[in-house]
Subunit: 300 residues, 2 copies
């Protein structure tokens, strides 16, 4: 049971966690902190938070759990602001899509990464943002990856794990660098392709017509290009090394594929497409994860 949760950033991610914990009776009081008075007011009206402030230092007063759900570029500033203002037993965790950066930010601000900081990442989200888009079921049966360090306090780790389980999530652990590599591949890289494709097409002369004839597959493919640009700028910078390497390699492969197509090398094309179809079927559609981890989006 969390007595007082300080929610630094009250959007889709933070708002959904608050709603889930409240629904599960797993939290006493929730204090929201954000920069937009309008959004905080909406969060209050929706019953997501019990009180609010625009100052992180005020938000964390007496909080036994602090959840950071701000764009990655804002994390260091928040840590600087809350330093020395935390309850002694307060646990800090976050929902960022890159884990190396919060570790670096914490080390820079606190001198070393605090034992009660547990970096975390819920693999969930939609292309919408803001507390109005939050909903309590966002984390149901979704994976949450925690990336504890050697110095991480086991009690703090356990408290964060319990919190996510109360929200309906399936919690696993991973090494910080490995997490950032896996996420670069499965999330950050696809977002770059979707943003890049829509941007390329929007710059074509007949873009009106191009988008008019876009069918369902294109809509699915580019839906993630509607995601929050500031959040994605920060993710790119926070995971720059892993992501830029992978994206550069993908760029080269597409240049090669273009040449294969130009040469009309049918055998090579068939190899690539068959391998991809088999891999997607085996890994994404064909292999059911264990029951409690089933993904509602998997079918269809």
């Amino acid at each position: 049971m969390i007595e007082r949760l300080a929610l630094i950033g009250v959007g889709l991610i933070g708002g959904s966690l608050a709603r889930a914990l409240r629904g599960a009776g797993a939290v006493g009081e929730i204090i929201g902190c954000g920069r937009s008075a309008e959004n905080l007011e909406l969060a209050f009206d929706l019953g997501v938070i019990d009180g609010c402030t625009r100052d992180p230092a005020v938000a964390v007063e007496d909080a036994d759990m602090v959840f950071l759900a701000v764009p990655l570029g804002a994390v260091r500033g928040v840590l600087e602001r809350i330093q020395g203002r935390l309850r002694e037993d307060a646990v800090i965790t976050d929902g960022g899509s890159v884990k190396g950066s919060i570790v670096a930010d914490a080390a820079a601000v606190f001198g070393e990464v605090p034992a009660r900081l547990v970096p975390g990442h819920p693999i969930a989200g939609t292309e919408h943002s803001g507390v109005g888009a939050s909903f309590p079921e966002l984390y149901h049966n979704r994976r949450v990856i925690l990336t504890p360090l050697p110095q991480t306090d086991v009690v703090a780790l356990e408290r964060v794990r319990t919190m996510w389980q109360a929200a309906g999530a399936v919690v696993t652990e991973m090494d910080v660098a490995h997490h950032d590599h896996v996420l670069a591949a499965t999330s950050h890289l696809p977002h770059m392709l979707a943003f890049g494709l829509v941007d390329l097409l929007a710059r074509q002369q007949d873009n009106d017509e191009i988008f008019r004839y876009a069918a369902g597959g294109f809509r699915d493919f580019t839906r993630i290009a509607s995601s929050n640009p500031v959040m994605w700028r920060d993710i790119c910078i926070a995971n720059a090394d892993a992501l830029s390497g992978m994206l550069a390699r993908f760029g080269e492969e597409m240049t090669d594929l273009a040449e294969t197509i130009r040469r009309r090398d049918g055998d090579h094309l068939l190899d690539i497409f068959s391998r991809a179809k088999t891999a997607r079927h085996a890994y994404v559609d064909g292999v059911s994860p264990p029951k409690p981890e089933q993904d509602p989006e998997q079918s269809g």
Copy 2:
């Protein structure tokens, strides 16, 4: 009203058209032609076709409408086989995703493109294939693009238009080269990126784990990588010039984007992501097409 429809290729595209036309009472008899006896038997059992043959020349006997729904690489062979076997007033049309190639195939086989050949392309489909995946509503409110040539017979054009309208589609016309450019951008290019991404990730050492942590966005993004590899090989070759040019340009842009990320150039990243979000919203989600053309997949 079509007296006798010859369906050359009885899969998702041909089978769905047959089912829609039968449901609308717009067709008398339907003869299916394909290479797989098993698939033809299934088509017969499902009531999609009334008779079947494995020889296109037999299938088109007495047919007043011939619909080609075979992979693009098989079109020329079919045209060679049916040459001289067609009823004098028979109209030929097709469902291929590239229109320049059927025009070239027809010119090569017949000496010039026949006046009664009306190249066409329904912008519809799923990642599944085979007659078992066909359903009569596939074309409901979906666009069909016809690309008539100067010599195209107006009566033949009108008959094809009427056929698609009976299947529930919204018919428009476009120039052959323009069609192939627009489709390269909205369909062929996204498919290359999805195939390429899944293939790249499948070749990573920790691919098991990478796919295990793939979230909903990745599933949506890569769904089209489950499409039929032979069909896509043929599309690539048929639209090689337009597609390879666009893909090469995309490859370069991704290489540039990788460098922008490596440099941690946040302003540039924000520009790209914001432009893409705005474009996708304006063109794909924000602008509702006229009522009869609404896309059921547009919401969500």
